[in-house]
């Protein structure tokens, strides 16, 4: 009876709550600005081949070190490659790495956090492993892992995921633990719900909001970290363009051709900025604890 009533109330309330959240999100100023930035950069990355007819690796030594002009909007580098094209193709690599790291951090973080919250025996083992991973400064851990796996795009993705999963797992575990103690979980258990059902139907939905906020910030961190790794020469190897390695190459002649390293850096900053704004908006709307406004 009670179960039915709760179900009925939840059934009528849930879509409405989602609608309210969406409306508040749509009205959130920084979320709007962030979303526009992220969508524009994402579209530029997806449609890079349509926005430029040049090959990102095409070298025209005749045109080396040309400053920004109508023919070369962002100028050219020491091989005469078009920086506008390279920044567009670099966006594909950098944003893709950020996205994959964010998604895999979300999935692994949710899995580890919920398993730890549900099974008491696993809890200590899993969380001590997460503590251990979090003891290394993130960039250093990522540096070590990419060093071991070799300078490839896949290594960067694995390395950054390893570095960011622990925080995600902690966040999910914390919110799943809150649900575990609530009466309706006990009720569900008495009604015969399996562990799997409790984890997927009750703990997971309750962790989605904080995890989504975290994952958005991880997307931003991952773009910054990929750039740092590629800049240090252990990330995405040239000639494939990534924002980090264009800056690394441009650094050697930054005094003569500042434009080579300026534009990819702007790309990194704008995408991280956009994602941080989206994350701020999501946090304000989804986390009622912080939604107080004076």
């Amino acid at each position: 009876m009670t179960d039915l009533a709760v179900g009925a109330v939840a059934g009528t309330l849930a879509p409405r709550r989602q609608f309210v959240l969406l409306r508040r999100l749509a009205a959130h100023r920084s979320f709007q600005i962030g979303l526009v930035l992220v969508v524009l950069l994402g579209l530029a990355a997806i449609f890079a081949p349509l926005l430029t007819s040049v090959d990102p690796s095409a070298m025209k030594v005749r045109f080396r070190f040309r400053p920004p002009s109508a023919a070369f909007p962002f100028g050219t580098d020491n091989f005469g490659r078009d920086i506008f094209t390279r920044v567009l193709y670099g966006a594909r690599v950098s944003l893709w790495i950020g996205l994959v790291v964010a998604v895999s951090t979300g999935i692994l973080g949710a899995a580890i956090g919920i398993l730890a919250a549900q099974f008491h025996r696993l809890d200590s083992i899993l969380m001590r492993c997460m503590d251990a991973l979090m003891s290394f400064p993130a960039i250093l851990l990522a540096l070590g892992v990419t060093a071991a796996l070799g300078p490839r795009m896949e290594s960067v993705i694995v390395a950054l995921t390893v570095a960011y999963v622990p925080a995600g797992a902690r966040i999910v575990r914390a919110s799943a633990l809150v649900v575990r103690e609530l009466d309706y979980i006990a009720a569900a258990r008495i009604a015969g719900a399996s562990n799997a059902r409790i984890m997927i139907r009750h703990m997971l939905p309750n962790s989605v909001s904080p995890l989504l906020v975290h994952v958005t910030f991880v997307f931003a961190y991952a773009i910054l970290a990929e750039a740092a790794l590629s800049f240090l020469g252990v990330g995405v190897p040239p000639p494939t363009a990534s924002w980090g390695n264009i800056i690394a190459e441009g650094r050697d002649y930054a005094t003569e051709a500042w434009w080579v390293m300026l534009f990819p850096g702007l790309g990194i900053t704008l995408s991280a900025l956009g994602l941080n704004l989206v994350g701020d908006g999501l946090r304000d709307v989804l986390d009622p604890r912080l939604s107080w406004r004076g």
Binding site: P137, G144, G233, R293
Partner: protein, 314 residues
């Protein structure tokens, strides 16, 4: 209370063990034959065999792990291949540079970041808040190494105010020491200030919304007193947590900035080690940093427990 402290301290023991095993795995997980990877593709079979023997890679994995732990207990964190030096002494020589950089940046970060966060919270939803938070957001979004190159171009090459690279030990010339570290420390603190200001603002807003602040206001305390005395003290707890993160990001950030500014610190050592496939060196440095941060995190946790009675669950 003392029981909680004991639990926290005991929890750090398995973490230290796991950190050691993770660092151990760095070499053993190298794809293919670790000895070949370390010696290089063109190395002669004798050279590969020598590497294998020196690093103990010819022994079974469990035995290697046992030896690894015995060495750790003896304070042996391995030796660098490229420097012919123990990791401890190589790191010891360079640690003052990295710690100076980290300490200087945190000294800049703490007052500026907290002040910015408090101001933004106090003048919430005015242009002051918007301005401060926009700057903070740029701080956490712009890549430090990129800002570093731009500022070297501007302050070093164009204005010629500051050296573009290099380092002077404090004991030899404190003025030049400061000059060589000012720019990297400032850039390192950009991210940190942004991070701390954002964190402080949320904490302050949360605290300002709570009953005890309303009570303080109601009993006639001025807004500044209500904010300063009550809310800020509450937010102090959050700042304690921030210190651990600030230290960790300072060490992480120093890896990139030491490279850009050619500062002879631990971060530069690690990058050189990776590019030279000096895996024992990288392994040793990660291990020592890992241990250090287990202890730092433990200290933060304990301090946090002391400051916030609400954390004392059983």
């Amino acid at each position: 209370m003392s029981r909680l402290i004991a639990v926290r301290v005991l929890q750090a023991v398995p973490v230290i063990l796991i950190v050691s095993v993770l660092a151990f795995l760095l070499i053993t997980l190298l794809p293919g034959d670790p000895a070949v990877v370390i010696a290089g593709d063109q190395a002669s079979p004798e050279a590969i065999a020598a590497v294998r023997h020196n690093l103990g890679l010819d022994k079974p994995l469990i035995e290697q792990l046992g030896i690894w732990f015995i060495h750790l207990v003896q304070g042996n964190f391995g030796s660098s291949l490229m420097l012919n030096q123990s990791v401890l002494s190589a790191m010891g020589e360079r640690l003052p540079v990295t710690l100076s950089l980290a300490a200087l940046s945190i000294l800049i970060t703490l007052p500026v970041g907290i002040f910015a966060g408090v101001i933004a919270a106090y003048y919430r939803q005015t242009w002051v808040d918007t301005l401060v938070m926009t700057l903070a957001l740029i701080g956490v979004s712009a890549p430090a190494f990129w800002i570093a190159i731009l500022s070297i171009l501007f302050f070093g090459v164009y204005l010629r105010w500051l050296p573009t690279s290099g380092y002077m030990p404090f004991l030899q010339n404190p003025a030049l020491w400061l000059r060589s570290l000012v720019l990297p420390a400032l850039i390192l603190s950009l991210f940190q200030i942004g991070f701390l200001a954002r964190m402080t603002r949320s904490a302050m807003l949360e605290a300002l919304g709570q009953d005890f602040v309303r009570t303080a206001r109601a009993k006639g305390l001025s807004e500044w007193k209500a904010v300063g005395k009550h809310a800020f003290r509450n937010a102090l707890i959050l700042i304690v947590t921030a210190i651990g993160i600030l230290l960790s990001t300072a060490i992480g950030g120093s890896v990139v900035l030491e490279q850009v500014f050619a500062l002879p610190g631990v971060g530069r050592l690690v990058v050189q080690g990776i590019l030279a496939r000096d895996y024992p060196l990288v392994q040793g440095v990660m291990l020592i940093y890992g241990f250090a941060f287990v202890l730092i995190n433990l200290a933060v946790d304990l301090l946090y427990t002391l400051l916030d009675p609400r954390v004392r669950y059983d």
